[in-house]
Subunit: 136 residues, 3 copies
Amino acid sequence: MPLVRIDLSAHRPPAVRRAVADGVHQALVEVIGIPDGDRFQIVTPHDPDELIFDPNYLGVDRQDVVYVQITLVQGRPRELKLDLYRRIAELLAEAGVRPEDVVITLVENALDNWSVGNGIAQLVELGAVAGTGSAG
Amino acid sequence: MPLVRIDLSAHRPPAVRRAVADGVHQALVEVIGIPDGDRFQIVTPHDPDELIFDPNYLGVDRQDVVYVQITLVQGRPRELKLDLYRRIAELLAEAGVRPEDVVITLVENALDNWSVGNGIAQLVELGAVAGTGSAG
Amino acid sequence: MPLVRIDLSAHRPPAVRRAVADGVHQALVEVIGIPDGDRFQIVTPHDPDELIFDPNYLGVDRQDVVYVQITLVQGRPRELKLDLYRRIAELLAEAGVRPEDVVITLVENALDNWSVGNGIAQLVELGAVAGTGSAG
């Protein structure tokens, strides 16, 4: 149950915003193996002066950053994370976002830190999530 | 010192938004035992297309999700977390939110990760927070 | 690569919002030792009723809170964190924010939880970040 926060420029039209959200989700499904229905995303459009970034830190030529912050259950191995970043950048390029402008942060938490409705901790009942090597 | 982020549809009127914030806070006070004054909340209304969710993942019939993300000090036992989710859903139902539409995520951090004003780390001075089993 | 989220009242004019963002960044550079180019910030202005806080919890006289949430790589020692809070409050005072109104939360994550462009995990390649005592 990742929770995905996407913060991007309001000048990107709604169809592009949706394509960005779709791309992030598709990458999570393909790389991490989350179910297609496991989709929870918050998109926040911003005026340009609300998104601040350095235009060339670590040699990356940034012009109009799309911030993607993903809260997800801990335990995905490093190679899956690296594959995830690469795949998000690829799919967002198809949505019209330059790969240089894709900034991604993960925040990892525990299985009992989630309720996806009805006041129930569904993940505790499931006992595991995709991509963590736990039995499921 | 939980920090609570609530992201919900802008079509929910201000009185409902406030009742949602009140309900989340009341649940934290009742279940976790935080002081009533320990209230820090950020509410962000969204256009409908900015809140993306699956309408039936894990069999929950979602129509208009209210996202609740709570950053709080680590160490609350699982049973308190489960009670918290149930109580939030109950109190938000009183505010007019369907329990199916309440999606909650916790992010846990450390005692020295907080300053609630004046540039001071008040929790370090207190030495503990409610509900963690630490001496206080 | 801290990611900084700043949520504050929309009535604070754009120049003040920018000065707040500048102050938080300067404190991170001075205290934690991050490179000046390592700047990634999301500013979200809010209507007054969207920022909820207690006006005197723990004896701090709050009137118009500026929320600062910083996601950063784990491992900074406590004394650096305490210095960071103090310095942020000092610099935001210069920007016109009362120190009582500065509420700060840190969320710590791992070195492989970051991509700052091009779908690459730059921190993994660097092997360390400033202020954590790791070799770099």
